[in-house]
Structure formats: C-alpha cells, structure tokens
Symmetry: C2
C-alpha cells in the first residue's frame, strides 16, 4: 500500500486507528475457547471482524506469537492471511523491532515481506544503515524505524544529546532519511512523548508516524494529534490492550468494538478539526 | 550456566569458540537432504556432532529459523533440545537481538528462557532499561547486550559522541552496568572493531564478550585476543559461515570440523600465551 492509498483509507474510515493484536493467550476469555483449535487465532478473528470498519491497520506484536513457538507462528500467519483475504484494504504491521547485520536482516525481510506479505515491519536502528536497508526496496512495503519509544527506557539513550546538541532520536530521524524516502519509511514515536512529537515533525514533516502508547500506557490522543498530524494525517495511532481486553466475557468482541468505536469517533473529530475530512 | 562454569568449559575444551548456527536452507548441501524430514535440523545435528568437542557455545541466529515460519521454529527448538540432551556442557545463545517495552520483552524472555531454555539471548539496547530488564533475573541465564556491532552501520549511531565526549556504545556499556552484574550480562562487540575492544575493556573489564565477525566478516582472532581477553578469558568468539559452509559435499561435516579445529588450535595458543591454561 502506498502513502496516498493509506491516506485514502483514513478518510474513508474517518479513522487513523491501528489495532494492536498483542494477543496474550493468558488474557483471552479462556472458557470461550476451551477445546477450540487455535484459540488465539479464533480470538483475533473475532476482534478483527468486530473492528475492521473502524480502523485502518492491524499490528500483531511478534513477541506474543513467538513466545508460543511454532503454534504461535501459525496463529500469526493465519491472522495475517485472514486479514488479507477478508479486509484487503487493511495495512498490516508486523511489530518485530528487528535489526541485524545485512545478510541476516535480509532473512527477516524476506520472511515478513516475501513470505507472509505484511505491509510493514518495525525495525530497531541501533545497528545502522545496513541493518535497515534490507527492509527497503520491496514495492509498497514499509520499514518503520524506532525513533522515540513510549517506554521509560526511552530516556536512557534516545534522549541523550551529542556534542552539537542533537538528541539520538533526532540523529536517527535525520540520518535515516538518507536511506529512504517518506514513501517507504515511517517512524515509531510513543504517544507518551507528548510535545516531543513537535520536534519529530520538524525533522520529519512528511512521514507517517506509528504512535503506540495511548490507553494503558497513558498517552493522549489529543496531544498526539495536536503535535503530530500533518496534511496527509501522517499518524497511525495504536491501541492494543484497551481494545483487546475491554471485556473478558462472551461479549468481549462487542465490547472491544465499543472501545474501538469510541477512539474512532475521537479520531473523526480530530480529522475534521484539521480539515482533512 | 554461571561465569565460573563457562570458564571451566573454556579450559577443558582449550577453546572459546562459539559456532554460529546461521543455517540457511539455500546453502546447505541440498542433495544430501533430499526428501529428509527437517533438512535444517539434520544439517545442524551433523555440524554439532562434528564440532561439539571443539567449541563451548552454539549460537543459532533466529532470523534463519523464523524466516521459514513454523517449520523453522520447530528446527530451532529441536536443535536446542538436541544440544541440551547430548552436549549439556554447551552454552546456547539465541541470537535474537530483541528489545521491546517491558511487558513485551517479558514474553520474549519467557519463551527463550522459560520454554526453550537457552542460556542467553542477545538484546538491543535502543529502548533502554525496561526493555532489557525482563531478560534478567532468570538464574544462570544471560542477557547479551549489543554494544559495538561488527557491521558498517555500527558507525551510524554507536560511534557518535555526546557532549561529554562519550560514545554511544560506551554509554550503553556504562549505563547497563546499573541494571545487572557481570554474572548475568554480557556484551556483543564485533571482531571487526579491532582496538576499540580495548576501550570496551576499560569500561567492562570483567564481562564476557560475545565477538562475532571473524571469518567472512574479516575480523582477526589475534587482535580480538590481544585487546579483549581478561583473566577469565572473557571472550566467546563466534564463527558461522566459515564453519557451516566450509564444504558442500558429502564431506561437509568433516570439513566443518577441520575449519573449527583450526580455530580451536589458534584459540588454545591464545589461552596458553595469556597463561590461562
């Protein structure tokens, strides 16, 4: 999916919501899936069917699948295939935070883009250009580079300042733009970073930004929109736990839909306020 | 395995070799495994049987397994189980370069340490303390933090200097020592970094260092030993492609053994020269 198509989807859905499929087998309503083949996939399917008209992207976090070995991987692949078949307009992000030497990153890229065929993979920048480059060059696929993350540990290194006064996340934003354009690269910036999003936008005015951290992590949609929205919206705001685990009874998917719908309505208001609808 | 046991193994084997199981299904001698169940596992088994008395560690790189989906994961898990059963003295490193927000890193840690039961996992430091912490606290298991990697992209961020003249890899070395001791944390430093290993040792004199990058990537064992060895050896030097793909005929495992044996003999000489044998 290219940037224009993503923006078109955002306008059509009146939403820039990404639903994080961080599906923890210990947290799904266990009784409902007893004896079922692939409870995690079955749960995902219900969540997807309940939310697909309210969001533009799904983001399975690989940890939740890999932690269950080959069965988890099967659930991940089935989930992606299900979205692709039934909701082909959705943008699918494998939240993998990968990064290794070139020939190794190439193996990851080939799996995610060549084999599973997600639209985007999150990548860690610590190892520099040749660790990210293998994720580029797949037409209409995207590398989403960690810039400024939503967790407390972001302060440890990302906010440190170099001799010229540049913070590490700014260096990542600036330097990575030598590697790829805003049509093949996005950035991760946590919702909890608040007005630092304005500093991100100074360096990356045109890029899409994947924003985790609203909901359980405490970030504010209003602040994210205020500092981060650009003329193509430029935001994919993720919510995981607040939607997936909104309820743990037989009504879980209906309540998940209510939670997603509430966010979507707030997003519609943001898009209207910014004259994008 | 604790630090003393690892050093004991190094003395017993007269080797600090780690064999990287970066097993690429496209590079293994295909004809030999035609029609076989799990060709990658079968190849690994042959390599392990041929080298286990010459090395102290095995390091499967996850990209080579994950890139093949659930079958690859099954090969990874079978490989670890095989080493555990037949060569319980070996130190097993999952080269995964993981790092995510706390609750997500915890899922990865539980998989690798709780379920598969490897001894160590490589982790990326970009997201800071809470992304690494979940890999700590498993008794006799290790987090191996990326400090200064072997690839060209290491220059992009790891070598940048802050306002006080400290380079990012030095900040990682210094700050991460607040999180864990040399009995639960190691570092990755590429063999291609040469004398920068001396700078690493100034900040981390006691830690074990995992050193990739000899062989195909061009690092020198002599230089690594000169700048990096400490009184517990303190080095695990990895070789992957130069051993795995030393030959691609029916003799592949015998030739792999020769390649490993050559490195092991050089390592014995290094240990003797440093009075550790």
């Amino acid at each position: 999916m290219d940037r224009q198509q993503l923006f078109d989807q955002i306008r059509a859905k009146r939403s820039f919501l990404c639903v994080g499929l961080d599906t923890d087998i210990k947290k799904i309503p266990a009784g409902l899936f007893k004896g079922k083949d692939s409870p995690v996939f079955t749960f995902n399917k219900a969540i997807i069917d309940a939310t697909a008209d309210l969001c533009v992207a799904y983001k399975p976090n690989m940890a939740f699948y890999e932690s269950r070995g080959k069965e988890g991987i099967a659930d991940f692949e089935r989930t992606v295939a299900y979205i692709r078949t039934h909701y082909p307009e959705q943008f699918i992000i494998a939240d993998a935070k990968r990064g290794d030497i070139g020939n190794t990153s190439a193996m990851y890229a080939e799996y995610f883009f060549g084999s599973v065929k997600v639209d985007a993979v999150t990548v860690a920048p610590y190892m520099g250009e040749d660790s990210v480059a293998p994720f580029l060059g797949y037409p209409e696929r995207w590398a989403i580079v960690l810039a400024l993350t939503s967790n407390k540990g972001a302060e440890d290194f990302q906010l440190t300042t170099d001799a010229e006064g540049e913070r590490l996340f700014e260096k990542v934003l600036r330097r990575s733009q030598r590697w790829a354009t805003a049509d093949e690269m996005m950035y991760v910036v946590g919702a909890t970073q608040g007005r630092l999003l304005a500093d991100v936008r100074r360096l990356a005015p045109d890029h899409f930004i994947l924003v985790p951290g609203i909901g359980v992590q405490g970030g504010s949609l209003e602040e994210v929109t205020h500092y981060g929205m650009n003329k193509w919206c430029g935001l994919l705001v993720n919510s995981s736990r607040a939607i997936l685990y909104a309820d743990n009874t037989v009504s879980f998917s209906a309540v998940a839909r209510q939670a997603a719908s509430k966010v979507q309505q707030e997003m519609t208001a943001c898009l209207v306020a910014k004259d994008l609808l």
